[in-house]
């Protein structure tokens, strides 16, 4: 297997739509994928991300739009002519063949010689660290092993693009986290353009170069993981990536305010006039005494509603005087534990100016 990022291909999706009757599963989606990039399509079920993947693979016919790979239109090509590797959610390994035969299948279709096939199968099995499994039967493999064989089979013929449909959803938590790193490692080594579909935001954040978030069939936002986390465009995305609390703001002459309180914002944020909300990430709020003053931060007065122990952190539910509930997360360490407020106590929440984010309310 060659590691040659220069042979990876870029993908361009334009105005892609898929309607089932009147229902729009995918509506006017356009975006570009750079060669060699690891892009994750993220969204809740029914958001259209899997349908989009299926259209790129060729198993679903678009109602409208264009899909180009390196400038070439592929939307009318049947799946077996697209030369795209695909890993399905249930792996779909052929049960009537051994592991080796499974992996050899695409090579046989492409009329490779016997020696060449054996060589490639061996190399790809080594890559997924299942070198001795060539003669095993599919029924003898565990879930994680099947996943790696499915991946091996999808990349053995060196496709320029790899598609994955919720590849890790069937694995348990431990295995999932190991495989996230494994898959990323293989991606970096082989340098192919990878498009992966998932509903798990942690998986998306861990593995991707960029994430495209989908909602009701439309592309809500496409950005790097930190870009999405720090600057979500609207409430839906902010809620989908990481946890947040939101408090409504209103536009006054002096700027955006929560009730009477003017909000201190970092300079580069433009004032959004349509239903602005202040996004409060739980880990970016500090709990302080009601009388602690802080000129630079935004200070909100409130009362602790409950404290929830969550192992590595403590989650506080705080009711602001303005009537909104806000979540605060503190690390479970001795420094914090010394000054822990209790349920019923009045406290002040501090939000640094640079941590203040404003988002649109509607999706």
């Amino acid at each position: 297997m060659t590691s040659n990022p220069n042979t990876a291909l870029p993908v361009q999706v334009q105005s892609l739509s898929k309607y089932f009757g009147d229902v729009g599963a995918v509506v006017d989606v356009s975006f570009d994928i750079r060669a060699g990039e690891f892009l994750t399509l993220l969204g809740p079920s029914g958001s259209g991300k899997t349908t989009l993947l299926m259209m790129i693979a060729g198993f679903s016919r678009p109602s409208d739009g264009s899909i180009r790979i390196a400038g070439q239109e592929i939307v009318h090509l049947p799946p077996h002519k697209r030369n795209i590797g695909m890993v399905f959610q249930n792996y779909a390994l052929f049960p009537h063949m051994t592991v080796g035969e499974n992996i050899a299948y695409p090579l046989q279709l492409r009329k490779f010689g016997k020696a060449e096939i054996e060589d490639r199968v061996r190399k790809v099995l080594d890559l997924v660290q299942l070198g001795v499994y060539a003669s095993r039967h599919v029924s003898q493999l565990s879930g994680g092993q099947r996943q790696r064989i499915a991946l091996a089979r999808a990349i053995v013929f060196e496709p320029r693009i790899l598609l994955m449909d919720e590849p890790l959803s069937a694995l348990d938590k431990q295995l999932r986290e190991t495989m996230q790193i494994e898959i990323r490692r293989i991606h970096d080594r082989l340098g192919m353009t990878t498009i992966s579909v998932t509903h798990d935001q942690r998986e998306a954040l861990t593995m991707s170069d960029r994430i495209a978030v989908f909602h009701n069939g439309r592309l809500a936002q496409i950005a790097t993981p930190s870009g999405l986390y720090e600057k979500p465009e609207n409430r839906f995305i902010a809620e989908f990536i990481g946890e947040s609390s939101f408090i409504p703001l209103n536009l006054t002459d002096a700027g955006l305010a929560y009730g009477d309180q003017l909000i201190k914002l970092p300079q580069e944020v433009s004032y959004q006039t349509v239903n602005p909300m202040l996004m409060l990430r739980p880990e970016r709020l500090r709990l302080a005494r009601p009388d602690d003053a802080n000129r630079a931060a935004n200070v909100f007065a409130g009362q602790v509603h409950s404290v929830i122990f969550q192992g590595e952190s403590l989650l506080f539910e705080v009711m602001l005087d303005g009537g909104h509930k806000v979540l605060v997360r503190l690390a479970n360490c001795s420094e914090n534990n010394r000054t822990l407020p209790r349920a019923g106590e009045r406290i002040a929440l501090h939000l640094e100016r640079d941590d203040a984010r404003v988002v649109r309310a509607e999706a």
Partner: protein, 306 residues
């Protein structure tokens, strides 16, 4: 798109190209549907040319009189010739009796099949399915052996002193009925079993809990719920009885004439195929009516469940 979206420097696709895609996609969809349709053609051709078309032809032929004119003479035969009247009566008589006996014999079997746990249910199912693997001809012949004058049944009856002379059990309606029940019972059991299997076990328990005896619960809860399957199976075997040939031909001894036999005879009895066609059409119509009634009743009974 806001500043969070990164754009790569690709040329965008023009409207003309998008339109071209739409056309290509549409063409592709239609050609795939056509290819799939073509895959069904061999099977469709066989059934269409050898069953659908001939039956349509039968219909038209039934309206051609013996002298070649269009008319309903063939149908008038049914009213004029007493042979036909007897045939209709005996056909329906036998069909009713056979169906009734089948229900009596088959309902308990289907019930047991539905409530037995595995592996017993599997064994019972095997026993019920076994007759399907034996030819109707062989089964009919074996009844000939058993029911004949010096056959098993008569020897047993004489031996036990119940009768003095052998009773004629075969070459008459009795033998025909015994033989037909033997063939039809499995056909009743299967659809009945399928519908019984779908009955929620908790319903009977709930009835018991509310104070009902097993017999009462059966009558008021189970029996009504098994009706759709019972009706479907009953009408199916009734229709099969109407059109049956082998058993009445072999065990009827010439005294029993059902429609199927009459149709076959009519081919050689009359100079044209008109009478045979008319009878065939009649059988077809009765079959169609019975099936429609069945569909209607099943749908209505099942809808009431929702």
């Amino acid at each position: 798109m806001s500043e969070a979206t990164l754009q790569a420097s690709f040329s965008t696709v023009s409207q003309v190209e998008l339109e071209r895609n739409r056309v290509a996609l549409d063409k592709d969809k239609r050609s795939e549907a056509r290819a799939m349709f073509r895959l069904t053609l061999p099977a469709v051709a066989i059934i269409g040319l050898l069953m659908v078309v001939p039956i349509g032809w039968l219909l038209s032929m039934s309206f051609v009189n013996l002298d070649g004119q269009i008319g309903v003479d063939n149908y008038r035969l049914f009213f004029n010739e007493p042979v036909y009247r007897d045939m209709f009566i005996s056909t329906f008589q036998i069909a009713f009796v056979v169906t009734a006996i089948c229900i009596l014999l088959g309902y308990p079997v289907a019930y047991l099949l539905a409530i037995l746990p595995p592996p017993w249910s599997g064994l019972l199912m095997l026993a019920v399915l076994m007759p399907f693997w034996t030819s109707g001809l062989v089964r009919t012949f074996s009844w000939l052996i058993i029911l004949q004058r010096n056959g098993l049944v008569n020897s047993a009856l004489i031996g036990m002193g119940l009768v003095e002379r052998p009773i004629p059990l075969v070459h008459n309606m009795t033998g025909t009925i015994i033989g037909m029940v033997h063939i039809m019972v499995p056909f009743l059991i299967l659809p009945l079993y399928a519908s019984m299997k779908a009955i929620d076990g908790n319903l009977m328990r709930a009835a018991a809990n509310l104070g009902s005896t097993p017999a009462h619960a059966f009558r008021r809860v189970y029996l009504p719920l098994s009706m759709p399957g019972l009706i479907a199976g009953t009408i199916m075997i009734f229709v099969m009885c109407l059109g049956f040939y082998i058993t009445p031909a072999l065990l009827g001894g010439g005294k029993v004439k059902m429609i199927a036999q009459r149709i076959e005879e009519s081919l050689s009895l009359y100079p044209t195929w008109g009478p045979a066609s008319a009878l065939a059409v009649l059988l077809l119509i009765v079959t169609a009516i019975c099936l429609s009634i069945s569909l209607y009743l099943v749908r209505r009974l099942s809808a009431g469940r929702e």
